[in-house]
Amino acid sequence: MTRPLRLALLLAPLALAACSTSLVCPQGQVDCGGSCVDLAVDAAHCGACATSCGPLSVCTAGSCGCVAGASDCAGACVDLLTDGANCGACGAACTGGASFCATTGSPATTACVSSCPGGLAGCGSSCVDLLSDRADCGACGAACAAGQTCRSGACVSEIEVACYATDTVQPVDAALAAAGPARLLGGSPQALAVVDSSVWASVSYPAGVASIPLDARVPSSVDPFDLVPYDSDVEALQASDQLLLASDDSAQTLVVFDPATAAVLDSIPLAATPAAQAAGLFPHGVDVLGGRAFVALYGESPSSGGQAIAVVDLSLDACAAPDPTAPTCSGGGACPTGRGCIGGVCRIPCGAFEKQIPVLGVPGAATSGALPFPGAVKAAGSRVYVTLANLQLASTGGFTGYIQPAGSGRLAVIDTANGDALSILDLGTACENPGALALEGTTLWVACGSFSYPAQAPGTLLPIDVSSAPVIGAPLAATSIVPGSLAFCGGKGYVTDQASGAVLPFDPLARTVGAPVTVCPTGTYGWAWASDLACAF
């Protein structure tokens, strides 16, 4: 509380007596020193605030236990392969001249040694590989949390899941178990992208992008960087050449963001004229092919703009190059020819609007009376694939809009090798309301299903072989969820649930689906949503 307020409240004792802040936490979490934590699984607050588990331990159901691979020696979790006090067995201490415990050779043998072999560092009485040892990752004593692995000296998870209702990103391992505590963002995360050692999230309420280091031991940046003056609404993030492309649903532009400098480099219009730009394009998915960005313009209604795919000619190398002599400008101010005023700096443009490829009115893009809403974009080979939600006007739960599937979903196929020729692929009745796209090898997977009409359009995962002309495969049933975002990490498939905080694993080779795993906790207001996921490496 600031000094002016205290002064004012000297004459307002009633108000002063009642003035104290309290933190609102998601369901199942409590306020521990200004942070919301789950006492059941938080290793730093296991069972009670500030009750931390030791190294190589994990908090389960409010009690500390040893992580897989660690042993319990007299109540402490130790690695028998490296621990000098428990070298090979509990109580087998390394003493005298052989004070280090090392595991070497093949087959591996564990023994006390006088000095650590080459490539291993001595941490206390242990010989460890700082690049891969979970208890000493990157430095002696720098332990990774349960579920994390030590890669190149950094503690990382397998997958990062955006939890919209709790304003967090939850790292998980390949089995979708928590890999460390959830990381708090400055808003509700909607889309994720990994660039270098950070996961970037577009957040809303308010909107912008925020970064979280993949290594959970590094503090987060919780202040979102603004993309536009007011409440941007980033529907999709796409990493390209170490830059981030963000489709800004509010400003109706393609924003180019430099994670290295946390600067917006450009905000590229997606229409030829200001009037067309302001018509309500609502850009969604984006992907890059051949130096051109393809942006799905979702639109809103027959009278809005959108329902097209915008094409932007990118020049990312030019705009991302260091430019210390760039002149400054005020908002909308004049800049030298060839530069645009972005964030008070006259920057070299990162691209230019080329054209829109309309899908509205294209035969086969939607059934009669419905509209085709472009959603996700994925480039493969020389083609760009865009899902078209085939939706009709309907009312449900007091809400009216283009929300009800009107029939089979469609896929727009743009052949860049053939002058951006557009063709429409009917995905069949097994895929109504197609959403996310992800590519595994030469198979394009489509997440299908309707949030508002799950009985009419149940969840499915549809594989399409795109090695040549697209060939639709047999759908996988995913009726336990409403499929949302898709990703393939380490050869395994994962799809989020639009209706809960669950993630559904599936095997793209065996074409089998696992059971959904709840990753995102229920928020303060009784709901959860795993809004996106991204592979951590």
Partner: protein, 635 residues
């Protein structure tokens, strides 16, 4: 334009103790005024309260709407959602706009549907004065006044007076109004007034998407047409007095949408009919006065948001009884009221009914030989299933040398609206488990009134509990209200009206300043402890006028410090300084004919944003021709 333009509009606290204010008064109740350095100024309804009286006659010909008039008072923040004719609401002392009661001659315009009252639907030419009361004023005005209340008092019938005004201005703005008052027989006075306002609203703004130089584009679908008429009747019936008010207003506006997603076909239509009558007569005992008031209000609100048409209809009727006793130590007032309100969304659900009842007790005590005034008030209220108490205690102690000290404390509540409880509106779902919002306030001020003018300054604090906040509740973007909001607003307010050099071309000045600290006390991490959005720390209004004779000129400053659009305090709205200026000249003496030139936003500031982040108009020029009966005392 008054020829005695001594105090331009903002009137601070009075030293003369008038009759206590009563919610529900028809216009003639506020008939007190005070003499200060030669000017007749209306007195606040409750001199123990933190209250400012805005006198619109000081701004005649200046093309000021109700929102602009109210913005001259301290503690008030006007939220303009676009240009002329578009939605305009107010916040007081950091409250939400929903937590401010707006009354027309004491009759609440806030409906059972909830939400803030749109000030743009009240024609400015009808207004005789605006009473702006700050703090938890439920004991005086009724439940809902958490931040404060604004009572719009229509002009009184003054037989033989008339006025007509025509304005043309930027962006296709055309306004016309006419009024006249006359006598029917010896005992009946009648005021009839009508006003029509229209604008194309096609102001230019800078479109900022992309790195290319910003281009100037024109706001589309921003036209507004609004009009209305009012008829007031005051009749002396022996020892009794009858006041009747009939009002009809309505209009249509385009809804232009976000600058990045324009909505060329959306629109809104509103309508309101109001009929009220009050009979005041002597009671059976000396010093006792009986007052009975009945009213009927009908509301219409149609909103087309492509492709949906929402048609809302409402109606309210009520009966108030009040007994006042002028006892030796002051004035005791006991009141009771019952109201019934209907609300229906045509074609979407049943008609909702809200029955309310209230009982109030207030006293107005003169102590210490008139140096100390105490005003306790208590009001018990039941609105549908929700009941509560509102209380208020005000005091004012007259010191020496024109100084006095005023302090008050109050508490009140706002029951959830029918919309918040039961109505699904687009993505906003209802929540039948809501509780009433509550607020407690406290303030004090040192008041000076003397030869140099008058001034007041003092601190205040209001604690808001259980505020109803819409939160997302599903991945599809649905919202639902919860009683999760807790906040505090505290700071200081000051106002000044002075005639430092009356002999120098009629120079006068006025100013109001607000320091507002707000803090979100109960929220998620990253938000708790932050400023509330759209609550700037500093707000200043200042005005200087010259009126040497049949010509006059003025200049105004509105300064608002930096604020945030969002709860997370990462989307700032930069500080804004806006200058207005105007001049007028009388070109005919009897009847008076004035020509006014008013320039709003003289420096053409283009960085002003509405609460949705959309651009507001730049420089606006208005020319007004005003004719009227000659004013007494004019040169």
């Amino acid at each position: 334009m008054s020829s005695k333009l001594v105090f331009p509009g903002v009137v601070a606290l009075s030293l003369s103790f008038g009759s206590p204010a009563r919610a529900g008064d028809l216009p003639e109740a506020h008939d007190e005024s005070i003499d200060v350095v030669g000017a007749r100024l209306p007195a606040p309804a409750d001199p123990t309260a933190s209250e400012t009286v805005v006198d619109p006659s000081r701004y005649q010909g200046e093309a000021k709407d109700v929102a602009a008039l109210v913005s001259t008072a301290p503690g008030v923040a006007v939220l303009n959602y676009g240009g002329l004719g578009q939605l305009a609401t107010i916040q007081i002392r950091g409250s939400t706009a929903d937590d401010v009661l707006i009354l027309l001659d004491g009759l609440p315009l806030n409906t059972a549907a909830g939400g803030a009252v749109d000030l743009s639907t009240i024609p400015a030419s009808w207004i005789g004065r605006l009473d702006v009361a700050r703090g938890a004023e439920g004991a005086r005005y009724g439940a809902g006044a958490l931040g404060g209340a604004v009572d719009v008092i229509t002009r009184r019938p003054e037989p033989g007076t008339w006025a007509a005004e025509a304005t043309s201005g930027s962006f296709g703005t055309l306004n016309g109004s006419a009024s006249g008052a006359f006598e029917l027989g010896r005992s009946v006075s009648v005021l009839a007034a009508a006003e029509v306002d229209s604008t194309r609203g096609d102001y230019p703004y800078l479109f900022g998407a992309g790195g290319a130089p910003q281009v100037e584009v024109t706001r589309a679908n921003d036209a507004a047409l609004h009009g209305g008429g009012i008829l007031k009747l005051a009749a002396n019936l022996g020892d009794s007095r009858l006041d009747v008010l009939a009002q009809l207003s309505g209009g249509r506006r385009g809804l232009p949408g976000n600058e990045y997603a324009v909505t060329p076909t959306d629109w809104q239509e509103d309508g309101r009919a109001l009929l009220a009558a009050r009979l005041e007569s002597p009671g059976p005992l000396p010093g006792v006065t009986l007052s009975t008031r009945a009213h009927l209000r009908l509301d219409l609100l149609d909103t087309f948001v492509d492709p949906l048409l929402y048609r809302q209809r409402g109606g309210a009727t009520g009966l108030d009884e009040e007994v006042s006793w002028a006892h030796p130590g002051g004035l005791l007032t006991v009141g009771a009221s019952i109201d019934d309100e209907l609300l229906v969304l045509l074609g979407d659900g049943p008609t909702r009914q809200l029955t309310s009842g209230a009982a109030s007790l207030a006293d107005d005590l003169d102590l210490l030989g008139g140096r100390l005034r105490l005003s306790p008030a208590l009001r018990a209220e039941q609105q549908g299933p929700f009941g509560g108490l509102s209380a208020k205690l005000g005091a004012r102690l007259r010191l020496s040398g024109g100084l006095s000290v005023r302090a008050s404390a109050g508490s009140t509540f706002r029951p959830p609206s029918l919309t918040e409880l039961y109505l699904q509106q687009g993505i906003a779902a209802p929540n039948p488990d809501l509780r009433p919002e509550r607020a407690e306030s406290i303030d004090a001020a040192l008041v000076y009134e003397g030869p140099g003018g008058h001034a007041s300054a003092g601190p205040y604090a209001t604690r808001y509990h259980d505020l109803i906040v819409y939160e997302p509740t599903s991945a599809s973007g649905r919202l639902e209200p919860f009683n999760t909001g807790e906040s505090i607003a505290a700071g200081a307010e000051a106002e000044l009206a002075t005639v430092p050099l009356p002999a120098l071309l009629g120079l006068s000045g006025a100013a109001s300043y607000t320091y507002l600290f707000t803090e979100d006390l109960h929220d998620v991490a990253g938000v708790v402890g932050n400023w509330l959005p759209e609550r700037p720390r500093h707000r200043l209004f200042a005005r200087a006028s010259l009126e040497p004779g049949p010509v006059a000129a003025h200049v105004e400053l509105h300064w608002v410090s930096r604020q945030f659009l969002d709860l997370r305090n990462v989307d700032p709205i930069p500080a804004a300084v806006v200058w207005n200026a105007g001049a007028s000249a009388r070109v005919w003496r009897d009847p008076e004919l004035w020509v006014h030139l008013e320039v709003l936003n003289v420096l053409d500031v283009r960085t002003q944003l509405d609460p949705l982040g959309n651009p507001l108009p730049g420089r606006t020029v208005m020319v007004t021709l005003r004719a009227g009966s000659r004013t007494e005392g004019r040169p």
